[in-house]
Amino acid sequence: MHLILFIVFAGFCLAGAINLLLQSHPISSSLSLIVVMTSLAVLYLLLGAEFLAAAQVIVYAGAIMVLFTFVVMLLNAGREERTMGSGVARVVGFPAVVAGLAAVATVILQAQGLGTATLKDGITSTEELSTVLFTKLLLPFEVTSVLILIAILGAVALARHGDGERTAGK
């Protein structure tokens, strides 16, 4: 069961990621990224991360990708122009990516002591997670809320900037 679920959803993940690269229209890319993120939520559940699976669907697939899709539609972004301005990326980038991936894969495949995952392993309950989060890691958690607040203010300030200039110009 675990094996079947892993193969199916890992396949979805890779297919979505490859489709993201192949599509030339941003809206298709963002929809395939939603496929990747939702399949990753299933993989998190297989690894026993119950809370993260829910958060992945709600925060990533739900909030972040909806924001992306909204912006793509708002800006009416059309097809990507095929410019050939990435000569360096083609010559240096791809061999570097392939070499890096090969190195990482070799390290992973030769690693000793990596266990296996089964459905019997049980799940990390949200209670267990929140106990650590709200006792040992309370300060980072609160600092993150400040970060989110700054991000909201920054986003509003940036998005309003154009209007402010226009009224100031008049």
Partner: protein, 107 residues
């Protein structure tokens, strides 16, 4: 039923999937010519790293690994909000999303 539950998947497969997704994200970052799609490739890389975190948290039964993924998600949300606001501001100033034409910070 019991045999179905007992099927094992090596954790190295999860790590390999994570490495592949990360590499695909890097390739997308390199070949994509649309600002929003380049940004989406960054999100793909963040997700790939999150999968590694969850896998290692499973391996060592460490709850902190999962909490770190939670923090990465929060930072990604903040980053997406600010990044997309910047993209909207750039689009207003330049009326294009092609990264080749947005190569100067100045107007």
């Amino acid at each position: 039923m019991n045999s179905l539950l007992a099927q094992e998947v090596p954790l190295s497969w999860y790590l390999l999937l994570s490495a592949l997704l990360f590499a695909l994200g890097v390739v997308g970052f390199l070949i994509k010519r649309n600002l929003i799609t380049v940004f989406m490739s960054i999100e793909l890389m963040l997700n790939a790293v999150n999968l590694s975190f969850v896998t290692f948290a499973h391996q060592w039964h460490a709850v902190k690994g999962q909490i770190f993924v939670f923090f990465v998600m929060m930072v990604a949300a903040a980053e997406a909000a600010v990044g997309l606001a910047i993209i909207i501001a750039v689009f207003r100033a330049r009326a294009t999303l092609a990264v080749d034409r947005i190569d100067l910070m100045k107007l």
